[in-house]
């Protein structure tokens, strides 16, 4: 089953086509890694999946309701000088059920505390976001998506500038979310993290996308994850590319 599919998608930025003839579906309950060099169109694709960039041609078919779509932005997109505590941030994840007006009840606060305990940030509940390290902040942000009960989760380089322990905690959480049926799409650069996390890989290069299995990214000689995907990949048969 796939609730998120791409149909002959063409995307452009500033009048310049970035990606074209993009097909395929993101499997439910699977983690798909989105990889490619800088400028290959990863962020453009994410914007289109979030519905923030209308396609030039083709379409993104998404059956997940809008409020259950979550996105973990790069931290630069947040105004970290704004006074908000970790608990308050996580509670904003109740937006789908509570909206702008409904008050939080005890059950939701309890759920918030459970989420913080699972992410190992209970002791930071009342700390301001601006006082946290990159890793702690990333855990708080993933806490918000847990609160949101996200069914489609898009993550843009979630492990950049994050400590090793946080990477482990987050990988575990993402795995659990996928096991519960969520569709997860994550932009990654690190091949080792990719091989541990991803079930499926969408490689973007030269304006095209290619679905490749994770094993395609292993080094032929060592069997270990390659340091970088072997590029360029032949896209001559792109129109016949399967949908993984």
């Amino acid at each position: 089953m796939a609730r998120l599919t791409l149909q002959d998608l063409q995307l452009a930025r500033g009048g310049q086509t970035v990606l074209e003839h993009l097909d395929g579906s993101f499997q439910d309950g699977a983690i798909t890694a989105l990889i490619g060099a800088n400028g290959a169109g990863k962020s453009t694709l994410i914007s289109a999946l979030m519905g923030m960039l209308p396609p030039v041609a083709g379409r993104v078919a998404c059956e997940v309701s809008r409020e259950r779509c979550a996105w973990l932005p790069q931290q630069l997109a947040l105004d970290l000088t704004f006074p908000m505590s970790v608990e308050e941030l996580i509670m904003t994840g109740t937006w789908p059920s509570h909206g702008a007006l409904k008050g939080y009840c005890a059950a939701h606060y309890r759920r918030g505390r459970e989420i913080m305990a699972r992410l190992g940030i209970s002791h930071l509940a009342h700390r301001q976001l601006g006082e946290l390290s990159g890793g702690q902040r990333q855990r708080a942000l993933i806490g918000r998506t847990l609160m949101q009960e996200a069914e489609l989760l898009l993550l843009d380089e979630p492990f950049a500038n994050v400590d090793g322990e946080t990477v482990e905690v987050m990988m575990e959480v993402l795995r659990d979310m996928a096991a519960a049926g969520a569709t997860i799409l994550v932009v990654l650069h690190d091949m080792e993290q990719l091989s541990r996390l991803a079930d499926d890989v969408l490689l973007l290069a030269g304006g095209h996308g290619r679905w490749v299995g994770t094993e395609a990214l292993l080094d032929h000689h060592t069997g270990q994850p390659a340091r970088a995907p072997r590029l360029p990949i032949d896209f001559s048969d792109i129109h016949h590319a399967g949908t993984a």
């Binding site: 932005p73 947040l78 006074p83 505590s85 702008a100 301001q128």
Partner: protein, 296 residues
């Protein structure tokens, strides 16, 4: 001693005009500082100033058509403030220029147009009144209008509060939830315009910004939590209002500047001695680096 206190603090309020001025100040002190806190946190501290220029042409037009009729002048102010805000936003969207440059241009044009209009239709006394207000000339109609607008602002702010907070921190999250961030932002700017039009009668278009921004920037030196900032800013505004009024009464000073200068004094003292990021607090941090808030 008690007699002295009574003469200084209570006796002035036996006059009706002082009572009305105090109630108007109280209403404005509840409505303006929370808006100022959000403007400050969004890095838009100077927008209030710009907006105060934007309402001037409308107030001037109202004045030309209806004389010193507060409801008409306020309506004009609200309309011209909103028109300028929308125009500035559209020009910035159409030309790709930053919004602040478009706003600066429109607000300067507004100020010049406003001053020109008032001068055409009235005397320099009228101009001074519009620019700097006259808190002691608040009549019952003005009082009703001011308290009505203040109540509306507090209610509206309560309604958009959560959306506004989320939009400040992470606008994309709100957009992902299907709420148009621009809408929240627009309503918020509308409230700022409303507040300035409520404030211009007592403090003038230029001074009304002071009651919005100074308590907010002062509170920043004492609290790092949103609720704390808002509560503190309101208290500071209340004290500055009453203090300024009493000073102007006893020392025969113009009331608007006296109120704003009282708030200004609180700002300077807080910048020197406040709990967070004041000169003294920073000095203390340097002396004890191990006790600084952990950033790990």
């Amino acid at each position: 001693m008690l007699a002295l206190l009574d003469a200084w603090l209570l006796a002035p309020f036996e006059y009706g005009f002082m009572n009305r001025a105090a109630v108007a100040g109280l209403a404005l002190s509840l409505a303006a500082p929370p808006l100022g806190v959000f403007l400050m946190l969004r890095g838009m501290s100077l927008i209030g100033d710009a907006m105060s220029h934007a309402i001037l042409p409308g107030i001037a037009l109202g004045f030309l058509f209806a004389g010193f009729s507060l409801p008409i002048m306020s309506l004009g102010g609200i309309l011209s403030g909103l028109v300028v805000a929308v125009l500035a936003g559209s020009v910035s969207q159409m030309t790709g220029h930053r919004e602040d440059s478009a706003m600066a241009s429109f607000f300067l044009i507004s100020l010049a147009a406003g001053v020109m209009l008032v001068s055409l239709g009235g005397s320099s006394v009228d101009l001074t009144h519009v620019l700097f207000g006259s808190v002691l000339a608040v009549d019952t109609t003005a009082l009703l209008l001011i308290t009505g607008i203040a109540t509306l602002i507090v209610l509206m702010l309560a309604i958009i509060f959560r959306a506004l907070v989320v939009e400040c921190l992470d606008p994309l999250f709100l957009r992902g939830q299907g709420v148009r961030g621009g809408l929240v932002h627009g309503v918020f700017l509308g409230l700022v315009v409303l507040n300035l039009t409520a404030g211009f009668q007592t403090l003038g278009t230029l001074m009304a910004v002071g009651l919005m921004m100074l308590p907010a920037t002062t509170a920043r030196f004492w609290s790092q939590r949103l609720e704390g900032l808002i509560a503190l800013a309101i208290v500071i505004a209340l004290v500055a209002n009453l203090g300024g009024l009493l000073l102007s009464f006893h020392l025969s000073l113009p009331s608007g500047p006296a109120i704003i200068l009282t708030a200004g004094l609180a700002y300077v003292l807080s910048a020197l001695f406040g709990r967070h990021n004041s000169l003294v607090a920073r000095h203390r941090l340097r002396a004890a680096p191990l006790n600084t808030p952990s950033t790990d």
